[in-house]
C-alpha cells in the first residue's frame, strides 16, 4: 500500500522562505498525526547541516525545528546521497536522528510510492 504524504525539501535554509514555510507545513502535518515522509534533495540537504548560526542575519535557526521531527513521530526522513556528494557534505557529519541516505533510484521509488507530494 502506498503511503500518504511525502514532503520534498529542495532549497537551502536561509536564501528564501521555502525551507522555513516547508518546515512549517511538515510540522503542521505531523501535529495532525499524519504518517508523513520527508526527503531532502538538491540544495535542501543544506538544511541538515549542524551548527547553523543564522541569528546575525537575523533569522531563526531552522535546525532546531528540524530536530523536533522525531518528537512529532516523523520517522521517515531521507536525504539524497548524490546531492550530498555534489555539495561536499559527508553523511556522517549530519546529526538528525533517524536520517536515512537514499540514492537516485530509491528517490524514484519514494516519489512514486506516495499518494501526494508537497514540494518546497
Amino acid at each position: 500500500m502506498s503511503q500518504q504524504l511525502l514532503f520534498v525539501c529542495r532549497h537551502s535554509p536561509y536564501g528564501g522562505s521555502n525551507a522555513r514555510e516547508g518546515l512549517d507545513a511538515i510540522l503542521a502535518s505531523a501535529a495532525y498525526g499524519q504518517d508523513i515522509g520527508v526527503l531532502f534533495i538538491d540544495d535542501g540537504v543544506f538544511q541538515l547541516l549542524p551548527d547553523q548560526a543564522p541569528a546575525s542575519l537575523p533569522q531563526k535557526n531552522l535546525s532546531a525545528n528540524l530536530s523536533a521531527l522525531p518528537l512529532y513521530e516523523v520517522e521517515r526522513i531521507y536525504v539524497h546521497s548524490e546531492s550530498l556528494r555534489e555539495r561536499g557534505v559527508p553523511f556522517d557529519s549530519l546529526t538528525l536522528e533517524g536520517l536515512q541516505a537514499v540514492n537516485s533510484h530509491e528517490v524514484g521509488v519514494l516519489l512514486s510510492g506516495h499518494e501526494q507530494l508537497l514540494s518546497f
Binding site: 500518504q4 521555502n18 514555510e21 508537497l118 514540494s119
Partner: protein, 130 residues
C-alpha cells in the same frame, strides 16, 4: 475526479499563478471537482484586493473571485503566510491593530491544516510555483 490545488507563487511575478487559474477552469469545464484551492507562501498575495493591474491586463484576484462564486470554490489563504506578507481580513486587522484590511471577498483565512486536509481528501493535489 476530486482535485486540490496549492498555489505557492505570487501573481504577476510568476506565470505559475496564471497557469493555476487556467488549470482550475479546465478542470471545472471537464466536470471535475475542486475540493479546495490553498494559497501558501507568496501565493497569498493573490488574495490582496488592493492590487490594481492596468485595465488591459489580467486581474487574477478578481478572476479567482468570479470562478469561486460561479462554482462555490473553497479559496483558503494560509494565515501564517498571509500575516507575514500583510494580507489581512477584518478580524486579523483588528487583532494586530492595523488600520486596514485587504483580503478579497470569497477568500478565507485559515491554517496549514487545511492544506493537509486537502491533500488527504483529494484524489490529486496539484502544486503551482513550488
Amino acid at each position: 475526479m476530486k482535485f486540490a490545488l496549492a498555489i505557492h507563487a505570487a501573481p504577476f511575478s510568476s506565470s505559475a499563478s496564471q497557469t493555476a487559474l487556467k488549470f482550475a477552469q479546465a478542470l471545472l469545464a471537464e466536470g471535475h471537482d475542486i475540493y479546495r484551492v490553498f494559497f501558501y507562501q507568496d501565493g497569498v498575495h493573490t488574495a490582496n484586493e488592493l492590487v490594481c493591474p492596468p485595465q488591459d491586463e489580467q486581474n487574477l484576484c478578481r478572476e479567482w473571485q468570479s470562478l469561486a462564486r460561479a462554482h462555490s470554490l473553497d479559496l483558503v489563504v494560509c494565515i501564517a503566510a498571509a500575516l507575514r506578507r500583510g494580507v489581512l481580513n477584518a478580524e486579523e486587522a483588528e487583532r494586530y491593530d492595523k488600520a486596514a484590511q485587504n483580503l478579497a471577498p470569497t477568500f478565507s483565512i485559515s491554517g496549514l491544516g487545511q492544506l493537509l486536509d486537502a491533500a488527504v481528501k483529494s484524489d490529486r493535489l496539484v502544486t503551482f510555483g513550488a
